[in-house]
Amino acid sequence: DQQVKQNSPSLSVQEGRISILNCDYTNSMFDYFLWYKKYPAEGPTFLISISSIKDKNEDGRFTVFLNKSAKHLSLHIVPSQPGDSAVYFCAASGSWNQGGKLIFGQGTELSVKP
């Protein structure tokens, strides 16, 4: 049973435009959400996180939005750059006393075209 889903396996955007990556989850006990970026042959790199007590967190060009009622989060990248081309994973955790266990989505491959 997949508790975290990224329904778009790929996304292509033009340089300078906004990239929006989506993620849905089913477990209402999740209270901490993260986005990771992964280049081929490298490990995932932490990008940004959000706690369930917030609905938005911003870090430079990256903003994560959380809609708890819809069990949905999204990552916005503005403006998109060719170097942003990578696979993006969302992950969720019940942050308290869960041992830090992260449940990952299956990833969305972002391609930013010059």
């Binding site: 993260l34 990771y36 042959a41 490298e42 490990g43 995932p44 790199t45 932490f46 996180s49 696979v87 994973f89 992950a91 955790s93 942050s95 308290w96 006393n97 869960q98 041992g99 830090g100 266990k101 992260l102 990952f104 299956q106 990833g107």
Partner: protein, 120 residues
Amino acid sequence: DTAVSQTPKYLVTQMGNDKSIKCEQNLGHDTMYWYKQDSKKFLKIMFSYNNKELIINETVPNRFSPKSPDKAHLNLHINSLELGDSAVYFCASSQSLTLAGTGRVFYEQYFGPGTRLTVT
């Protein structure tokens, strides 16, 4: 000055062999993890150690045995390798915080570069 390192990066071996993957972190974190990324690209947690204590042990065959000699190291030993063990294995680390009367919270995890294991 690599934060989380793994050795080897590539490992090719035959069925039935025993092999180990090593992981080290220099971030001063107290928690370390092993994840497996299968052929469908799903990242799934296998084990987690906090201050050398096993705190997560997912449904993993007992041919897989993690060992944490200290907080900075978490090794993964695999006995009697099978074809289905072929995957990329990622080590990760994070810091935890224990609040009196509340419990323990874990912060973002930092991943190593991965070890691609191929069993033939």
